[in-house]
């Protein structure tokens, strides 16, 4: 952590080489966030570059009050959320799926959340996930992604997204429920539904 802080200090002072090392350290995470949130490799590339460029420009005002990763994720989340809001909600999921261009090689991110054994999704499954993701509001996508892919705690996500922890908890729950429903609908799987009570309650809550 001390080594990273040193890099951040040097980068804040205008040291592009130090900043480059930070880019290398975080590009996978930032790209994953953008890719999950947008479903588009091209958009994810643009948004990731935008996020890092903003980081370079904004480093002078980084106050060292939050961890650097929190600060960077906040910046990246905002870039992605702003992008999604500008887009029409009817945007179609690109047919070129996420892992098609690079073949089906298996790549994993550091710090995945514990859960069922990880496996690479088929192209069709990736489309389904992105379809399901596109049902979620941008902030919900961010919260779910930061939790499930980046393994951030509720407290960290609250800091990153600038919302209360209680809001983080309820958004992730709602996001999971929507994701579950969308995946099961698309995948034609037998659907364990929440009970009627929960469904009624679910429609009452604002998203």
């Amino acid at each position: 952590m001390g080594a990273e802080l040193e890099l951040v200090r040097r980068a804040a002072g205008g040291d592009a080489d130090a900043f480059g090392q930070l880019v290398l350290a975080y590009q996978k995470q930032v790209y994953a966030l953008a890719l999950r949130m947008t479903g588009s490799p091209d958009d994810a590339l643009d948004l990731s570059q935008e996020a890092f460029l903003r980081a370079w420009r904004g480093l002078a005002s980084y106050r060292f009050d939050a961890s650097f990763s929190t600060w960077l994720y906040r910046l990246a989340s905002n870039v992605c959320i702003d992008f999604l809001r500008r887009q029409k909600r009817e945007r179609t999921v690109p047919l070129q799926v996420i892992n098609e261009e690079e073949g089906e090689r298996e790549l994993s991110l550091p710090d995945p959340s514990p859960g069922p054994e990880e496996r690479v999704l088929t192209a069709m499954e990736q489309v389904q996930v992105q379809e399901a993701m596109s049902q979620l509001e941008p902030e919900y996508r961010a919260a779910l992604t930061l939790r499930v892919i980046h393994g951030r705690s509720y407290a960290e996500i609250a800091q990153i997204l600038g919302i209360r922890e209680g809001t983080v908890k309820s958004r992730i729950a709602r996001a999971r429920e929507k994701m579950r429903a969308a995946l099961q609908k698309n995948g034609n799987k037998p659907a364990p539904q929440p009970s009627k009570q929960a469904e009624k309650g679910g429609s009452r809550h604002e998203l």
């Binding site: 790209y31 460029l53 420009r57 261009e101 959340s113 990880e118 496996r119 999704l121």
Partner: protein, 238 residues
């Protein structure tokens, strides 16, 4: 607890973010609710789908970022020499640095900036720094003898060595004008001046570097580094 309430706790349970009481409540509910148990499994599957491995970023990402960084306007440094006669006797040298992580200053200079509090210590070995209203009178500025920037310290250590850093986080202050010992005088606005106990430039830099990211003049000569200094000026580049 009904299934609606259980939904959030189910999710929280997956993340290990329930309180012990909440977890207990949840388990009690799950014991009697097969549909919520099934929902828990469905959530796990949804998580697995979202968290499935994604491709690495393309090389173009890093290249693109670094190219853009290279195109950004450079943070320029400019050094001014200034001789000021009316400063307190102990002050022989002033160093100005841009503190790139200085907490945002409020508009009113009368308030004690957080940075000053940070730097203010009871430790006798390090300088206590407190903010002071400090303005450079035009008369004093006019009295500055002209010399070229190449003549570093023509008559011993100058009274003021100012480093201007492009730093949007630098605070606003009261310094109105600083003359440059080169043909054209330069006005500097928005600088904050801290008055410290006398210490050497080197000491102040060392103390500040522990707390903040400083941009330090690379070619600070030894003579300047050990010169006594009691005023710290922080100014953004214009």
């Amino acid at each position: 607890m009904n299934c609606d309430e259980a939904l959030e706790l189910l999710s929280g349970s997956l993340d290990g973010e329930n309180t012990p009481a909440e977890e207990q409540q949840l388990q009690a509910h799950l014991a009697g609710c097969p549909s919520c148990r099934a929902l828990l499994d469905a959530f796990r599957e949804a998580d697995a789908a979202v968290a499935a491995p994604l491709p690495d970023p393309p090389d173009a990402l890093y290249r693109g970022v670094m190219e853009a960084v290279a195109r950004e306007p450079r943070r320029r440094k400019r050094r001014l020499w200034y001789r000021y006669g009316a400063v307190a006797a102990a002050a022989a040298l002033v160093l100005a640095v841009g503190l790139s992580s200085l907490p945002q200053q409020t508009a009113a200079p009368a308030e004690t900036p957080a940075a000053a509090r940070e730097l203010d210590t009871d430790d006798a070995s390090s300088p206590g720094v407190s903010p002071a209203q400090f303005s450079v009178s035009p008369e004093a500025a006019a009295a500055v003898p002209e010399t070229t920037a190449d003549d570093a310290f023509p008559e011993g250590a100058p009274d003021l060595l100012v480093e201007l850093i492009d730093d949007p986080a630098a605070p606003a202050g009261e310094v109105t004008a600083l003359a440059q010992l080169t043909p054209e005088p330069t006005a500097v606005e928005e600088a904050v001046v801290y008055q410290s106990d006398v210490a050497t430039v080197r000491q102040i830099i060392t103390d500040c570097q522990d707390s903040y990211a400083l941009v330090v003049p690379e070619d600070l000569s030894d003579a300047a580094a050990d010169a006594p200094c009691s005023i710290l000026v922080i100014c953004p580049e214009e």
